[in-house]
Every structure is written in C-alpha cells, then in structure tokens.
Symmetry: C2
Subunit: 343 residues, 2 copies
Amino acid sequence: MELDQRKVVILTTIIKNYLETGEPVGSRTISKYSGLNLSSATIRNEMSDLEEMGYILQPHTSAGRIPSDKGYRFYVDQLMESHQHEIDDVKTEMFEKVDRLETTLKTLVKNLAQNTNYAAVVTGPSIRTNKIKFIQTSLVDSKRLLLVIMMQGNIVKTATVLLDGSEELDFNRVLSINMLLNDELSGLSVEDITEGRLAQLLARTNHKETIKAIVSSIVDVLDIKFGDSQIYTSGATNIFKYPELTESDNASKLISAFETKDELAALVKGAEERGEGKRPIQVYIGDESPLQNMADCSVVTASYELGNGLKGTIGVIGPKRMDYEKVLEILSKLQSEMDQAFK
Amino acid sequence: MELDQRKVVILTTIIKNYLETGEPVGSRTISKYSGLNLSSATIRNEMSDLEEMGYILQPHTSAGRIPSDKGYRFYVDQLMESHQHEIDDVKTEMFEKVDRLETTLKTLVKNLAQNTNYAAVVTGPSIRTNKIKFIQTSLVDSKRLLLVIMMQGNIVKTATVLLDGSEELDFNRVLSINMLLNDELSGLSVEDITEGRLAQLLARTNHKETIKAIVSSIVDVLDIKFGDSQIYTSGATNIFKYPELTESDNASKLISAFETKDELAALVKGAEERGEGKRPIQVYIGDESPLQNMADCSVVTASYELGNGLKGTIGVIGPKRMDYEKVLEILSKLQSEMDQAFK
DNA sequence: TGTTAGCACTCAAAATATTGGAGTGCTAAC
DNA sequence: GTTAGCACTCCAATATTTTGAGTGCTAACA
C-alpha cells in the first residue's frame, strides 16, 4: 500500500492533535479538523489502512488512534526536512570566547527547561580530551601542595597534593617544579600522559617523589569517568506535567536517573558519538533510546562545539508526544543566545 | 487529665506501630502487642482519653488512631532524652584534618540517604564567614588573570579576572601583587573586606585598576547567596517509598525543592541558626518546619563544626512516620565515620 | 471502682453492577 | 470512490452492594 498525500494529511492531523491533547483521536475529529472535507466514514477507511501500515495504533478496540513510534518517526523526519536550515545552524564556534563556561551552561540548561516545559540536560566538554593550558603548584604547608590546572576553554581544576615530606621544598624549588611541569605537560591531554612522558619528566628533576605525587594528582583530577564529567540538569519536575510519564513508578525511575546523572551522561554522550558526522540534532523516540528508563520518552539532542575538539551536548527529555517543532526551534534559538553570551 | 504510665505505654505502642505500617492502629492491635494484658475495651477507653488530650486522632469515625503532631513531639522528646549521650556526641572537631571536604560531604550525604531510606541534605560551611588562607593570581594572557583563593579548611575557589589592559603586567609584577594581596587580605573573611581595607590596599600599589578588579572578583566569588553555598543532596527519590508523600502533587513539590536547592538551604541553615546554643540535633515535625512544602514531612537536622567557626548541617527529610530512633542513631554513627575519614 | 464481654452502629475501601458515550467496522446505497 | 446508517465494543464514570475493621456504650463482673 502506498502512503499517498491524503494519508499523510490524516496522519499528520492525528499526530498534531494527539500532541496537544494526549487523548486518542477519533475519525470524526479528523473529519472536522483536517481540512479534507471527507466524512468520518471515509476517514475510518483510511485510518484502517494507516493502522495496517503501522503508523498508528488503537489502545483498545473502539478507541481512537494514537501515533505509533513509526508514526512519530515519520512526522519527525518530515519536520527535520522542513527545518533543515535551522538545524544545520546549531553547530557553532565559541572557543576562547568562553569565560565562565560553567555559569553559562547552568543558565543554558535552566532556560531550556523553562522554555520547553520538558526536562533538560547539558554536558560540558569532556576534560579527558581537553588539553592542559598551564599548571601551577604552590606550597600550602610542609605536607601539602595546592595544584591548579587550567585547560583549554579556561576550565580550571584544583586539587591538594599530599606529600610524604621526604623532599624539602621552598618557594624557589616550587617555582622550578612549576616551570618543569609546564614545559613538559602543557598542550597535552590526560590521554597523552604516558609512562614514557613521566620517565622523561623525572629524568629532569631531583624532586622525583614530589613530581610523582603531582602527576598522579593531575591524572586523578582529569581522568574521571563519564559520571563525573560536567553535567547539568534542570526541570526534572516537568515530567510531572505529563501523566503518561508519572503513572506507576515511571516517575520514580526517571527522577532517579536525573538524580544520579551518570545514566543521563551516558545517554547524551552516546548520542554525541553516534551523531559523529551526521546532522547535529538527533531525535530518539521511545525504544530508540538506549535507556530502559526512557522507553516512554523522547529524547532530542543537539551537539555544540567550542572548537579545538571541545564538544558538548544539549538534550531535551519529554514525553513521546513532545512538541518536536517547538523543541527544534528553541534549540536553534538558544544557540544564537549563546553566541550573544560569548561575544 | 494526667498522662500516666499506662497512657504513655499505649501512646508509644500506637506510634511505633504506625511508624512501621503507616496504617491507623486499632484497639485490638494494642491489646495484643502492648504487653499490658488489657482487653481492647479498656484500651478503647484510654484511647478516647488520649484523643481528648490531643496526642492521637482519628482519620475518620470507625477508623483506628494515628499520632497527631503533638503525639510525635512527645515521642521524639522522650527519645532525645534517652539518647542524650549519643546526641551530644555529634558535635565534633575536624578542622584542618579536612583534605577534600567536597568529596567527603558528597559521600556523607549519599551514605545518609542510603542508610535511612529518606532524603538527605548536607551543607558545607558557609564561605562568607570562612577566612582567607592565601590568594594567588597568575597571568593567563594579556587580558586575563587566574585567581585562586584558598580558605580555612582547604576549600579552594577560583575565578578568572578580566583586565581592561590599561596596566601592563609581567611575571614579577604579578608576584608583587600576590605578596601585597596576601599581606593585606589573608586571615580575613569577605565580611571583613570593607571600603577602608580596599583604600589601604590601593595606597600601597601602582596597579590600582588591577587590584580593584581582583578584589571585586574575590568578593564576587565569596559573597554568594544562600542558594549557591555548598549544598549536597541525595536520595530525593526515596520519598516515592512513602505513599503519603506521593499523593496528589506533593511529590512534584518536594522533588522540585530538591532540584532548586535554595529552599532546602534556607531550611537547613535556619535550623543551624535557630539551634544556636541548643542541642545539636533538632527535629521538626510537620507544621513545625518553616517550609510549606514540608508540612507533611519531618526534618531532622544535626550540625557539625570544623572548628574556627566553620559550621555545616546534616539533614534528613522523610515522612512524619519517620523511624526517629534509627535516624538519631545513624546521625551519631556517621559522625564517627567522618572522624575516621579525616584521620 | 476499674475491667471486660457483648452488641449495635459507622464508615472507608473493595468488589460488583449499571450506564453512557465515543469510536469502530461493515454494508448498502449514492 | 464516498457516505449514511446501524449494530457492536469497550472504557470510564457512576452508582450500588458487601465487607470488615473499628468504635462507643451499656451492663455485668471481680
């Protein structure tokens, strides 16, 4: 059977109506609002076809129809087509304009949640692949060094290094250690700090123990798992606005995912990687998402790039009957707002 | 009417039973489990008295009784009495043993939620009253300084200072600026940084614009509102385990409080201040809590002290039928664990 | 005088029955 | 190909009944 123009109109009408109301849509409703001027009986015939083709389904006999995942997929693909220019715009360059990335991301995620009325998640660039700009240590007391690392994009990480006290340090020695560290390590990412590098470093100093402790701290701070990578969420409570996400213990599971964040991080990062080379906005509908908990949700992700390989992701999580059109629009709007913020 | 021994036993039995089951308790149950060897009829007479006195109430005629807030209050006060030694123990000194306070607090709050099955919240010491240990700035590029501040308790804050470029800086100039800053500001809290201080500082330097920018950054970073002060939460989803907190849109409100955190911060801080000079553990039952959203909850808070005026609070939020005994116990246990952690 | 058995009564919650209406599929006529 | 009409289905809302836990009161008892 073929999906002709009339069927497309009917399918779209069903979906749009269902997005608004969340109730199954009956033939009479479509007959009235599709603009096709067909009687409900005719519509019924077409709906029967659409159901057979898998685009819509009945929750039970004698109920109206609701879109299936396949139906949503068709709708979203169509939408992506017609918003192509906006979508391609999202990828943007804002490297080095960043001053307080953290603050910006927090604001961003908040706006996103408020504007969409869905839950929002934003990840900052991964530090694992980010490169060290400079390193600085300073003496806190006889057994402690304060370690400050600045990464590309002006992201700062700090740690305290505990010393065993076997090597005496003073201001000048710390200064030379700093010079050595910067000389050897700046421009590298954690992944670049190999055994070989370390050996090379140690060959150039008398303070071997101290250097060992510092480097191990550096790796510690930067070599963190998914879960700990910068991830901000907002609007988790928005899911309470959609009954289909709240029934039984769905709500509990979803909220829990937002509380622990690592599942979310994996989801969003996964989207980023899978999106490699593809369009920068991706939509997962229901089961398409890799997460069990999200089987009743749709997830829309957009990646952004700060340049120099620093990438992050913005995501919106809501019910399957999400207002996809609005979400796509907002994602591209936020992009330009971020541009403003980093001017 | 007097609350004699027998009435106390009955009241306690009602409360304990209700804590376990969450269901109204009837006279027959008490007759069986109180150990009093009285018939249900006698118990009924006593319950009638207890109700008149306001310790218990009936959700509706011909239902069993549940504790009123007054009843809970009586029970908790009694409990506090018998656990006095544990409770007084909670106040502890761990100043300067702290190495990564942040990590510890995160672990603490997680443990607390897991052990109690309630929601947990922990606040770090307020930075406003914390004193500066040392300050360090370093040149990032011609228009940017990296500012690192270490506070008492080895809490580190960083910021980037934007310069207008009117004053040229080099390594040695930054060094002298650092010395000056430490000389003038270390040992002070933000509250101590007055106009007078600033003037005094400026009198000693040629880099007036730079110093102004730096000090304003320092104040910015440290002089933050309640909401931004260190606050960690965990186990918000535990509230789904208690139906009485989930019905209608209670859950939504509670979870939302956990998401935004500032209300929570206010609650917990408030407890800390109101607890000034009193016992270090406090219990708020239902309406006793200053927060609307928490009217159906009980909140137990304990304050800890790192010494030198650095105080924080640990809180547990759960249903009114909270296992108060267990919570009090766990709070004192966690305290000793923290001691261990900081050895 | 305090305790208890017994009984009539109450009321929420669970189980069951009733109804209404939105929606469908099918058929026959246009 | 389109449509009116009709019998049929089934959810959801409402009403009804049943059940049982619990109460208060009274009268008898130790």
